[in-house]
Each structure stands twice: as C-alpha cells, then as structure tokens.
C-alpha cells in the first residue's frame, strides 16, 4: 500500500486561526475537507504537506441556510450529499442538487465537501500518479518539471478541472466570501479559477472559502446538469454542462440562458457563444444544434485522460443539446422515435 508521509495535523475551531496556520505553513499547508481529493494526492505524494488543517471543527463553515427573498448560504465544509438531500436546495436550487448528486460515487458524496469540490485540483494522468511513477516518467510543469507530456512543446499546463458543482454554482451566479489574513473579501465564483492548470486557483496564501452564496432565482429557470463519464458512478466528468434556461410563456422562446462547461478545460467555462445563440431566440432544432456546436468550440480538452479530446469536445455539443431538449420536454435525440 501507499504510505502516508508525515505531516502535522491540526483541527482549529476558528476560521481566523485556520487561516493564520495556513499562512504560516508557507505554501506547505493544506485545508482538509472530506479528503477524497487531498488524501489521495498526499498518498501519491503529488502533494507533500507540512501541515494539514482540518475543517472538522470549523462549525461556522458548515450548513445550508436559505433566506427567503435573498438566497442560499452554503458553508464550504457542508458535505455534498447534504445539498441534494436538502428539500430547499432541491426545490429552489435544483441545478445545484443535480450536480452534487452525480459527483464521484456515493461515498465521495458523503465524505466530500462543497469547498473541496469547488477547489478540486486540476487533473492529468501524467500528474495524478505515484511518486515512483512520476519520477520514472519525468516531471511535468505541474510538478515543477520543464515539460508538458500532453501538449508536447506547449508552454502551459493543460490539466483539466473536473469538479461538478462549480459549473452548477457558476450557472446560478454564485458568489464567494473568502476569509483571509487581512479580513474577508467577496468574489464571483468564476473568479476563483485562474485558468492555469498548474496553479488553478486564485486564493492567496492563508485564504479560505468562508461561504458560498447563491442568489435566489426570481424567475422560473429550467435547469439541467448533464455529465458524460464512462461509468455510471465514481468517475470524474470527461465533459459536463450545467444549464439554465428562462423560457417565455409560449415555452419555446428563450429569454435568458446560462451554460457552464466543466471537465473540458483548466477551469469551468461560461459558454458565452452558446448563450448568445440561445438568448432571445425560439429554441428550434436548428438553434439547439447551433448552441451545442458553439459550446463545443469553447471546450478545450487535452489528452489528460483515457478518452480522446475530440470525443470530449463533441460530447459537450451533445450534452448541451440533450439538456435543452430535456428542458423543452423533447426526446434526448432528434432521431429517436
């Protein structure tokens, strides 16, 4: 079995204290949520922490609170299953419940936290390997080496961001409260992601997500979360789409749209071109096809896993189209009887 390296473990009861400890660990400190991502990486020595700060006793980071007419406050240490088991999330923020319900497998959903899923490290099969494997093959950019083995000759790390809930939260225009050594700051969720596969998050040293806020939808948005993975459980998304459509009274014209992709880039991608095509238009089969194709153009998967980038890109188009058809009450495929 893989041996866990030695590190110091603390479980403070105060967010400020946690922040201070992480800052002092000077880049070697890591916040532990459910451990479904971090502990695997630590055992593989992808990450070698000097300090692990557990969120176990950080009660202020836990729980779900809905304020009528305002929105949903989600503590980042909330377990993923609590999202889809919450009646209010299911009723008022169904997109978030949908995405949380297909993260990994059931055990991941019960251990994994919202904050951990939002801060899921970017993944690549040249990176998520044991120390022996990586040292045998050679170190890539993300490990401090000087090459990318996926995009040969490339200058940037293309490891994929494969979190599910980020796309749903982004589509719901979630905002973060980030606690840090110099107090709290607010930021849209999409600002959390840097776009660089090597250092995918914009959190500064000592910063911790303190809260995720989702404004209450004032309109009857129709939503879908479509995830493509090889098996019906466990797997990360090879491609996934969170979508929300606001339809006119006729049920055909699209007044507003939000489409966010995940699994196909170094960060979640707001599919602006697809949104532009949908917005204001009658959702004919032609428009649906066009929107799917436009979304696929914004997907930039690399050969970071077993599936081909071409197929994952293509799946984005299929997922967008399936999602829209589902919202419209149509069969998943126009060719289906």
């Amino acid at each position: 079995m893989l041996v866990m390296p030695k590190f110091e473990y603390v479980a403070p009861a105060d967010v400020r204290e946690a922040s201070r400890l992480l800052l002092e660990a000077d880049g070697k400190g890591f916040l532990l949520g459910g451990g479904t991502d971090l502990l695997v990486s630590v055992k593989q020595r992808v990450i070698v922490p000097s300090l692990v700060v557990s969120s176990r006793r950080l009660d202020e980071l836990k729980g779900i609170r809905h304020v009528e007419g305002e929105g949903l406050y989600v503590g980042p240490a909330t377990r993923l299953h609590q999202l889809y088991e919450s009646p209010v999330v299911r009723a008022t923020y169904p997109l978030i419940a949908l995405a949380a319900s297909v993260v990994g497998g059931n055990l991941h959903q019960h251990m994994g936290t919202v904050g951990g899923n939002l801060c899921l490290d970017t993944r690549c099969w040249y990176y998520n390997q044991t120390k022996f494997w990586r040292e045998s093959y050679g170190l890539c950019f993300k490990q401090g080496g000087d090459a990318c083995y996926v995009a040969r000759g490339g200058q940037l790390c293309v490891a994929a961001y494969q979190g599910d809930t980020a796309a749903a939260f982004a589509a719901m225009q979630a905002r973060l409260t980030i606690a840090g050594p110099r107090g709290d700051r607010q930021a849209p969720l999409t600002d959390l992601y840097s776009g660089d596969g090597k250092t995918p998050f914009t959190l500064r040293p000592g910063e911790i997500i303190a809260q995720v806020f989702v404004p209450e939808p004032t309109q009857p948005w129709k939503v879908f979360y479509k995830k493509y993975r090889q098996r019906g459980t466990i797997d990360f998304p090879l491609a996934a789409v969170a979508g929300a459509l606001l339809l006119a009274a006729d049920g055909r014209r699209c007044l507003d749209a939000r489409v966010v992709l995940t699994g196909v880039h170094t960060q979640p991608v707001v599919a602006e071109r697809a949104i532009a095509i949908l917005k204001g238009n009658e959702l004919t089969e032609e428009i649906i096809q066009e929107a799917g194709a436009a979304a696929a153009k914004q997907a930039h998967p690399a050969k970071t896993t077993h599936d081909t980038p071409q197929h994952r890109k293509r799946m984005i188009a299929v997922l967008v189209q399936e999602g829209i058809r589902e919202v419209l009450g149509q069969p998943a495929s126009p060719s289906a009887a």
Partner: protein, 776 residues
Amino acid sequence: MSEFAVVGTNARKYDGVEKVTGAGKYTADLNPPGMLLGRILRSPHPHARIVCIDVSRALALPGVKVCVTGAEYAGMKFGVFPSTRDQSLIAIDKVRYVGEEVVGVAAFDEDTAEEALDLIDVEYEPLPAVFTIDEAMKEGAPALHEAFPNNVGAELHTEYGDVEAGFRRADHVRQDTFTTTALAHCQMEPYAVLCHYQNGRLNVWAPNTSVFARRRALSNALGLELNQVHVHKIYTGGAFGGRSETFPADWIAAMLSMKSNRPVKIGLSREESIMTTRQKHEMRITVKSGAKKDGTLVARHFQVWAGGGAYMSTGPIAIGWPLAMIESTFRCPNLKYEGYRVYTNRPICGAMRGHGGQQLHFADSCNLERLAQDLGLDAVDIRLRNAVQAGEVLPSGSKITSCGLTETLQRVAEESGFRNKVGRQRHLSRGVGIGCSSMINGFNMGARSGSQAYVKFNEDGSATVFSGINDTGQGNETAAVQVAAEELGLPMEKIRLVSSDTDLTPQDPGSYSMSSTFISVNGVYQAAADARRQLFKLAAEHLECNPEDLVARNGVISVQGSPGTSVAIEKVIWRAWQRGKEIVGSGIYMPKLNLKRDWIAPGMQTGQVTGAYSFGAVAVEVEVNRDTGEVTILDITAAHDLGRALNPKAAEGQLEGFLAFGIGQALYEGLVWDGGMNLNPTLLDYKYPTTQEMPPVKSILVESIDPEGPFGAKEAAETIGLAVISATVNAVADAIGVQFNDLPLTPARILRALEGKERVNGAKTNGARKKRNASP
C-alpha cells in the same frame, strides 16, 4: 423429497459469515510480533543495464534492518516451467520493464522502509526498448533476452487433418484479424505477502490460487526442500488468474526474512499490484475459416501473436490453451494453429480468466458470425450446425464426455427471443448478438493434476475434511462441504473443512484451471465415499443387513424403505472406536489425461487434454446511442452447462461475476500506455465496470451430468465470460451495422466507426462504410 439432501440446495457460503463480518483475515491483516515491513525499489526504466547498486546509505538509516539485491542470489532463476526460467529473483545486471524489482528493504516501520528507498543509489545505462508486438518482432529490434534474438520466447505450430485440402473443399473462405489490449485483474485485495523463516523452515502467507504451486516455486527458487516451505491457509480477495504464480515480492520477503530472522511483510500498492504482478496478454489474432454452403466448417487457420511483457510467466499456456478451447467448441476436422508469445519491455503477462481463451474466443466467434452472414445463414443455426456433441472425439484425440452446448445455445436463443429480434431493431439502434464457448476442467500438471482428501470423525458424529481445495471467492469450499455432507449423510453444520495448507492438507492442483469443482471437490467426494463405505459396513453389522441397502441422511444411517431400522452415525463411530477400529476416509481424484500432452512442444498436442469440458452460450441485447457512442447492455441471457448445479445460487453468482468481466473487456477496459509506462494503474482510471453497468441477467443452469464429475458437476461460469464478449460485439454490429475487430468498443471508437474512420471488418475504411455492413 429431492434425491439429495444438501447437493443442489442454495446453502449459505461456508466462509460467508467470516468474510462479511470482517473476522476473516487476509495477508495484510497479519502482524506477528517482531515483524519488519518491506518495500521494493523498482526500475524506472523499461530497459536498462544496471551499472551499480549502492545500498550503504539506506542501511545506515536508523530503523533499516536489512537490504537484499539480486547479486546475492545470482544464478537462481524463476520460471513457471523448467524450460522457461528466464527471470532472476531480483534484477542483477539488467532491468526489462518499469517496475522490475531492484532492491528489497526491510525496516521496523513502513515509513522508514519507504524513506530508505530514496537513499539507494542505482546507476542505470538505458537501453533501447520495444513495447508492441510489431516493434518487438521487427528485424533488428533490441532483444530482451539473449537466447531469443527475435523476442519470440515461445511458439506453437500445430495442424490437425489437412488444412490446405480443407480450404480447397470450402465453398466460402473468410479471414479476419482482431486485436485485444492488455488488461488488469483488479482483485479487490492488493497483493501482499508475509514470510517468516524460522528454525530452517520458511512460512508463507500470501493471496494464492494454490498453496502447492506456490510452495513448489518458492522451494525451487530458494533451494529449499518442499517440506521446508509451509504455505499457510489465508483468505484471498479475488484471483482471476492473477494469483497463480509466485512473484518477486514473495522471494524478496523470504530473503529479507532469512537475512533478518524476523517475519517480513510486503504490501503492494494498487499501482504495484497492476504493474508488477501479472496482466492479461494483448493479442493480435488472424482467423481464416472455410465452410460449406450450409455453414459446416471444413478448415480453420488461427494465427496468434501475444504481447507478453518482460518475462515468460505462463506464456506457453496463453498461446496453447486457446487451441484446446477452439477445437472443443465448433467441430472442424482440419485445424491449423500458430501461436507466438512475444517479449516486450512492458509488465509481465500471465494468466487471466480464460487464459488466452477469452481473446481467442472473441476472434473465433466474430469470424464465424461474419462467415454466417456472408453465407446468408442464421447466427444460431451456424453454431448449432458446428457445435460439438457428447461422445465426440476432437481432432487432437481428446474426447468430450458430457456436453450441453446445443442445449445452452437453443435455450438462450429461445429465452432471449433472439430470432424475433435479430436484424429487426436497427431503426432503434438496438441489436442482439449471440456467442458460445467451451472450457476445459483442469489440465495436465503431471503428478499434481489430481486432488486428494481425508475425512476424519469426531465422537459427536461430526466430520473434519482435509483437502487442498483453494477458494478465492468462488464458493469452492462450500461446494466441497456440500458434497461431503451429502455423501456422508451429515448436515453441513457437522462438516468442518481444513483446506489449502501445505502442512495440513494433501495435494491439490489449485483453482486456476477451472478444476476446483471437477477435480478438487471430486477428491473430497472420493474420500467421503471411502468413509461412507466404512460407516455402512459397520452399520450393516449393527443393523444386521447388507451395506448396499443402507442410506444416510441427517446423521442417521437407515435401511432404505424402513427408516425405523436405523443407527446414528455418532453411535457407529463410538462403537468402532470402542472396538479399536479406526474410520478414516481417504481418496484421490485423478482425471484421465494424456500426461504427455504439452502446451507447445512440437507434435505433443494430442490426446486427452482435460477430464471434462463445460459449455455455455450468451445472448446480449444492446442499444447504441448514436450521438454519444455509448453502448448500453439492455439484458443478458446466459446458459452454462455445469454438469450439475451443486449450489444454484452460488453458480448464478459466478455467472454474473464473469459476465461483468466479459462486459468489461468488450466495452470498457484496457491498459493504456505511453511507451513502457502504464497510464492507468489505478481503480479510478482503469475502467472496469461497476454495478451500474450490469444489466439484468437471466441465468440458465444446464445440467449435463458428467460421468466423472462429483454428482455430475463441472466448473461453473467460465464459458459465458468468454461468450459474452463476442455476443456484445455481434449485438453492436446488429444495432448499427458495424463489425468491430478491436476491443474495447469505447464510445469514441463507436462514433469514429459510425463516421467510417475506424478499422472495421478487418480493414480501415475511409469515408462511407462498405455496403455489405449495412444489412446482413
């Protein structure tokens, strides 16, 4: 009332409670006092010369007790066969794949042992490497082993009948080439081994499929007498062929224990388990079949290239076994078979479910399917026409004793509605496919081909059975206990089984040749029958009747037809012992084999290869999503001829388990490579199917009552795990009109094929598909 009291019932698994409550111990659970933890430094290179190894800094680390290197064991080599000893116990001058063992370290804790690995200095001189079959066989390619300059480490050339003449008589000849990828077994238990060398004896605990094979290999490798090696009974968390051999971790743990005089345990990571125990051979297979207009096969020619990795392992079996399977499924008098087992600088390939048969069956059955389509014949009919029958002598001279192949085919065809569905659901992108296969039940292992057992009694009338039978989760122990209980006339609770321990139990071939039911349970049956004879003789004296008139059930021996005239078994035992008479049952079952038959030796592929053949057929219905390329298996109907169902529920469990294996190979699984590096050595990235991918399964147990099997029983399930692969590929062909030649059928591959960009029908097509595929 059933003919039997215990046989044929869904008795609870003998080891079930211990396993589900967590009380059952596996190797990693063992922590004897004074134990050291071992780690292995492995080669980072696929092919390199070792210039020097310096362990002095590691040995200086506090907590490190001992190190071992190959030089200390120079000249000692391992091989499954005496003729294939090609692997040093630890690499000495050369490494041949990434992960090969270079140094073993034992320390007081795992952290220290791990840290010590970083302090070992090894200087390598990298060598050019070959990774694929083609690269390895190319003229002038670097050779892995000096003795095999073309990297072909084993080959087989066999011809039965006259194949050239056969093809001349054929009305139609069809040739296809297929490929399969290397696979991982993914046993739930990662490999672990504990060795304790004490008082001149080596004690070993490790997941295994035969304690006797493990003992033999360790004694050969380490130069110990057989009775100086004690391989203990320990639960094994799945084997699937991948726990059959001894591995370098065993030798290293043994050497570290011999040097330190302490118990040493080495637990491998999942990555090490996948990369450094065994994998399944990747294969390229060309099948040429000639048939008459009515589908009768007249000649077949198989060419098999197996990419086997750095060492020979069970390579000769991997290329030889499929021949035994091919001749025993579809009758063909003229059969030519050529097999090449090729060394490459990748992990070592050995046994894995069907042992080459799974790959060959896929090729065999898909070729036959296409032959049928060329001739305008029904997929079921062509199989029925060529299906072997009981009593038939095969081209090699091996005889089929019992055979339910025709019945399994007819029943799956009927119960799946195959004929009403085939070719009629393409507008829904749905299709059905069928496959069938045979399987041998044990093979020639010389004196180790048979299984022995003893039965002793206790004064309360209960019995203890000693058998070498091995159970890695299949239910073999349960079957043995059921058969012993039936034959002795005792309830199952009155039977205790002591199994799989080289010091305590007699010889057994192991559970890696589909032999456990047919041979090992048979050994238990023979011993129980012997004990029963002794009991009946004494009971007959007591009851003043003939032993032939007696029956035993539920602990009581009575005269048939007059249950009032009876005596308890407990009483028979008491009386015997009081009179100074012992009752000990003993028996052996040795299958009637040609013990000269060899997997690859020229001209030696004749005579009886196995004691019995089992058979099975599978019908699969699929739906293909033309947008995503995903294949959903809607349902499976599987029939297996297992001779007799000793425990129907357990047999169904075996059927479903092996179907999952086959589905994995057909649709999901494959080891992916970058040169010599395996890119997916984890359970996350290696895509074996989960319960989510399992369709509803209708299991049909066909009982052909084998004349030699215990109560007529044969192995359960191995055939259908083979047959489900071609059935799935054929079903996809029926659904979308594309016949695939390469596994697995991933969504990306399906979409590429629908666009005409994938190699199908034996040739890569560009642009539009050939018309022939559109409608058979």
